[in-house]
Structure formats: structure tokens, C-alpha cells
């Protein structure tokens, strides 16, 4: 047990004892789990390549108050994006929800003050999608006093994206929560946009419940860096014939860990999950994805591509679990990495666990260096070495960027990724 976690438990216990938080019954279950779970060490498989020392070192330190922190709205502006933006700074809501132009059939409310309908959503989604094994998910269960609830009515096709922006500033500790219910045959785009490189600790968990034939376009941008500690997850429960198209882009930081779970809880669901991570300097990024095929006729396509330069360290663990009844499952998992430096590190582990006998599955992982022949070819065309390397790097992930359905997001992301490559030196 770490001192930091003890403090979390103490703070949560005293708050729950004194307050009248309507979620206390659910939170106390999470609290109980936290009290009994062991603090992960290097021997804990799920944390084998990710040290929690940066979190342990937070123990005893008082977090800064985030009152009156000024925020540069250009830092998260996406030109041309048609979206409803909800901004949280250090876990505190900065957007006047009543002022938002919310599309018809979409209901946005807060965890701290939900209406009756939202309470129903919370009852169905909060801690109902995210598996209990995620330690920091439990921390978030007890600590996230505020959160966003998005409810999309059945049959509604929403063209404007819903974007939740989570910013963190220096010396703060914060916890963000997002709960989304996509009604039967509804269609919506949700963007989780996290940023901030200052020394800080943030957990951000989101749970998504997809109804029958519901369609969710999902993005998670974890554009952190520096001394930020960012631990979170996006978790999805797929309804019958539902469709998920998710893209996750991570930059890494002192400690970045994301868990993605996709549960095929009904038949004929389709899930596409693309993941891009670009790490430089001393950054660390750890993605664990778990796809549970519990029912027959589900499809999953997962593609992860990472580029690791300097002293950076990437961890990828992709697990596909096909239960005995999940016949006719189609599942593919592929992880490709480009290692730009001898001091960089990539730990990749694709796992397939299959208990059904009539399925089509494939998985693979590669780690490669820059293709010398391609580099030489570009040099013979007069392109400078540094420019050629940027183009080759970008080419490696471009395919996944191009698969992002939203054009404004693509146009916003591409120059940023290029800029990041320019700063990555190949050794």
C-alpha cells in the first residue's frame, strides 16, 4: 500500500462521511475495493514496465488550488471543428452549460447536479462499463466529485461533435469523469481532449454505453508532456449491431497510462480502434487495451502505431479475449513501432486468448528502425536528411491519421504531429 493511496482513501472516506453525495453508495463500493487492492509493483503484470514512483513521490505534498488559473483558449482550438465544447480545468467545470447550443436530442448534465433522467444514465453507466481491476479507475470513482454526463436520445443523429476538454496546470491534482449513453440507433461523435505538460496528477476516465445499432465516433487526445502524470481510460460497452470508430493519440509524459476496454456485450457489434503514440525525450506512454468478445458475431479491428525517439519508453499491451460462446468472431490486432534511437525502449505484447473454435483472429507486433533504403532514395532527390526523416516518420502513422473520419481534426492534428517529428532527433 502506498502512502499516496492511503491519503486518497482518507480524503474520500472523510468526504463521504460528512457529505450528502447521492453517489455515495456506489462510491463506497469502490472505496472498499481500493482498501483491499494491493499497490502495484514491478511484479504486477499490468504495471510491469510502468513505474508508479512518480505517483508515490506525490505523497505528503499539498496540491495547488486551481482557482483563477488563466487558460489560453488557442491551445485547444481546432479550426473548422463543429463542436459543443465543455471545458474543465483541473477537474473544475469552466463552461456555462446553460449557454451551450446543444443539439436536439442530446442532454448534457453534471455528476454533481443531475436531473432525474441523468440519474438513470449514471445508474446504468457509472462503474458499470469500466472493469473493477483498474486501480486508478477506482481512485477516480471515489475522487471525481464532478463529471460530465452525455445522453443521446434513441434515433438521434448528431452532426455536431461533443468535445470534453481537460486541461491541467502546475502543481494540481484532479480527477475527470465522463459518462455517455448513446441511445438505440443514435449517432454521435465524442472527443476527449486532454492537454497540459505542467507537473500535475490527473486521472480521467470515460465510460460509454452503446445501444442497439448505436454509432459512436470517438477520439481521445492525450496530448500531455513534461512532468504531467496522466492516468485514465476509455471504456465501451457495445450494444447489438452497434458501431464504434475510435482513435487515440498519445504524446506521453513523465507517466502516461491509458486503459481501453471494449466489451462486445451483444451480437454483431463492430469496433475499430486506432492508436497512435509519439514519444520523445524522457517521455513514457503505456497503453493497455482489452477487447472482450463475450457474444458471437462480433468484429474488432485494432491498429496501434508508435514512434519512439530519444530516451522515451513505450508500453503496448493489447489483449483480445474471445469467450467460448463468441463464435464467428473476427478480430485483428496489429502493433507496429518505429524506434528512432538506441536509447529508446518499446515493450509490446499482443495477446490473443481464444476459447471459441469458429473464429478468425490475427495478431502481430513489430519494432523496426528507419528504412535506410527509403532514406537514401529521398536524399537522392535532394530532400535534406532532417526533412526526409520527418516525412518517413509521418508516413509511418499517416495511414491511421487519414482513417480519422473527421476532416477538421485531421487537418488540426497533421501539422502538430509533423512539428513533433521535426523535434525528434534520429540517432
Amino acid at each position: 500500500m502506498s502512502q499516496w493511496l492511503n491519503q486518497v482513501i482518507d480524503r474520500a472516506s472523510s468526504r463521504m462521511a460528512s457529505g450528502d453525495d447521492w453517489l455515495n453508495p456506489v462510491r463506497s463500493n469502490a472505496l472498499h475495493q481500493l482498501q483491499t487492492q494491493a499497490w502495484p509493483g514491478r511484479r504486477t503484470e499490468a504495471w510491469r514496465y510502468t513505474s508508479l514512483h512518480p505517483v508515490e513521490a506525490l505523497a505528503g505534498r499539498a496540491a495547488n488550488e486551481s482557482v483563477n488559473v488563466s487558460i489560453d483558449s488557442d491551445s485547444f482550438a481546432v479550426p473548422g471543428l463543429d463542436s459543443v465544447d465543455i471545458l474543465f480545468v483541473n477537474g473544475e467545470l469552466r463552461t456555462e452549460l446553460a449557454q451551450l447550443d446543444v443539439p436536439a436530442g442530446v442532454h448534457i448534465s453534471l455528476l454533481s447536479a443531475p436531473g432525474d433522467a441523468a440519474r438513470t444514465v449514471v445508474g446504468q453507466v457509472f462503474t458499470q462499463v469500466k472493469p473493477e481491476r483498474h486501480l486508478f479507475g477506482l481512485v477516480n470513482d471515489v475522487m471525481a466529485t464532478e463529471g460530465l454526463i452525455v445522453d443521446v436520445d434513441a434515433g438521434v443523429k448528431v452532426t455536431r461533435a461533443i468535445r470534453v476538454i481537460n486541461l491541467v496546470t502546475d502543481g494540481t491534482e484532479s480527477h475527470n469523469r465522463v459518462l455517455v449513453r448513446v441511445g438505440d440507433e443514435a449517432e454521435v461523435t465524442v472527443i476527449e481532449h486532454g492537454a497540459g505538460s505542467a507537473a500535475s496528477m490527473n486521472t480521467a476516465f470515460a465510460e460509454y454505453q452503446l445501444g442497439t445499432k448505436a454509432k459512436l465516433e470517438h477520439y481521445r487526445f492525450a496530448l500531455h508532456g513534461g512532468d504531467a502524470i496522466h492516468i485514465g481510460g476509455s471504456h465501451f460497452k457495445m450494444g447489438e449491431s452497434s458501431n464504434l470508430n475510435s482513435t487515440l493519440v498519445g504524446y506521453g509524459s513523465q507517466l502516461s497510462r491509458l486503459d481501453v476496454d471494449i466489451e462486445h456485450a451483444a451480437e454483431h457489434a463492430y469496433a475499430k480502434f486506432n492508436n497512435i503514440y509519439l514519444l520523445a525525450e524522457n517521455e513514457h506512454f503505456d497503453l493497455h487495451s482489452t477487447i472482450e468478445h463475450a457474444m458471437p458475431n462480433g468484429t474488432t479491428e485494432e491498429n496501434a502505431r508508435g514512434i519512439v525517439g530519444d530516451n522515451a519508453k513505450a508500453v503496448f499491451n493489447g489483449r483480445i479475449h474471445i469467450h467460448r460462446d463468441a463464435q464467428k468472431t473476427l478480430a485483428e490486432l496489429n502493433n507496429r513501432n518505429l524506434l528512432l534511437s538506441r536509447r529508446g525502449q518499446i515493450n509490446t505484447k499482443p495477446e490473443l486468448e481464444i476459447y471459441a473454435d469458429d473464429v478468425q483472429c490475427a495478431h502481430g507486433a513489430t519494432v523496426a528502425e528507419i528504412d535506410d533504403e527509403a532514406l537514401y532514395y529521398m536524399l537522392t532527390r535532394g530532400i535534406s536528411r532532417s526533412k526526409a526523416l520527418v516525412m518517413l516518420n509521418f508516413g509511418f502513422i499517416q495511414e491511421l491519421v487519414e482513417q480519422m473520419p473527421n476532416e477538421a481534426l485531421r487537418n488540426w492534428l497533421q501539422p502538430q504531429l509533423r512539428e513533433r517529428f521535426v523535434n525528434m532527433e534520429v540517432k
Binding site: Y376, L379, M391, G395, E399
Partner: protein, 253 residues
Amino acid sequence: MIHIKDLRASIEGKEILKGLNLDIKPGEVHAIMGPNGAGKSTLGYVLSGRDGYEVEGGSVEFKGQDLLDMEVEDRAQAGLFLAFQYPVEIPGVSNMEFMKESVNAIRLARGEEALSATDFLKKAKAACQQVDLPLAFLKRGVNEGFSGGEKKRNEIMQMILLEPSLCILDESDSGLDVDALQVVANGVNSQRDGKRSFIVVTHYQRLLDYIEPDYVHILADGKIVKSGDASLAKEVEKTGYAWLGAKAEEADA
């Protein structure tokens, strides 16, 4: 244009070029023929500056500069172009983006302004049409999934766009049917303007029916063993390379 003097080069300790001499003036087309393993491709790689090709001796002066002392990209910017025998596939980098970057790098090096996106597109479309490549190829990854013939035409397309001073064509005819061969040859001939020079490396005389050389050299065992005019190529076609002796027939480089 280029003066190659007593050039000796090796790869992994094995000497491939063993004292090669060649002088090319502006506007001239020189064909280099020879058996497999003679060092034909090595010449292109050494002149372009490929890693792993060690220059052991000799000198190369290109437009008054010491070519062997220059970086690969600087050679290209100075006007040297190598059309690859096996063009490289670069998935994820579009042909368009690749060529725009390349054209502008070379234009800037020549003291010209970078082309605007519209002007570049105009030129690229024209070059595509000239080598009979569908415009859709500009959007595809560089050489990605191209057939052998399409790759060769893509090389010529690049040559047209880059307007180099010296073009080295490394077996640009290999693997082509007669129609594709003609397209490649027409592309090359369209660039003959009395100033631009060419080194046409080929195993067969066939290409030289379409691109008429001013000089033909036979390269064997790392040296030029015979030089002549276009008629030398016809002679080779009749007699093969057997007269060079058994040694040069070793196809191992």
C-alpha cells in the same frame, strides 16, 4: 559536365570499380553496357553517394565541384539525378508530397523560388501525362504497389520535374515491354536539350534503339574496356560479352 578519373570503389571490402575513367561534356549521351557484375549499378550508387560504397581512390569532378566530397542531397541539389533500377517503395508518403518537397529543395538550391501548390500541381500533371501515368498515382504512396513498369515511368516523371544537369539511368529498360520502353525513351529524349547530359546504363542494346547514344562504353570487371560510337552497341548485340573473357561473366555483384 563530369570528369571521372581512375575511380576505384568497393563494397564490404570487395573492390568493384577498379580504375574507371569517363569524361562527359554537356549535352552528351553516354551508354554504359556490360555483363552482370561488371560494376554498372555500382557506378550510379558511388556517384550518388550511397552509404556502404567506399571510394578507395580516384576523383570525380561534377560541374567544377569535387563530387565525392558532397552529401547525397547536395549532389542532387547540384543537378545529379539517378533513376533507380529498383525504385524504393515508401508507404505513407504520397508521390505528390515527395515530389513537391524534392522539386522545391532543388529549386531553392538553384536560387529559384519554391513553386506554389497550384504551379507544382500543373507541372506534376503534365509530367504524369508525358510518361503515361494516371494522375491518381500522384496521390498514392511513393511507388507503393506500382508495377515494375510504373515504377520506371515514375522515375522518368521525377527526372522531368527535377530538370537535372546529369541523369544516370540505371537499367531503366529492365522489365519493360516494348510500349513501356518507348514511353521511357520518349521521356528521356524529351529532356535532351543539348545541355543536359545522360549516362544510360543498360545490359541490352534494345534501349539504345530508342535513345541514341553519342558514345558507347563497355564496362567489364570494374573498368571501361572499350569505347566507341553507337555501332559498338550493335556489335555487342551480335557477339554478346563472351569476347571479354570468362572472368567478366561472373555475375556476383
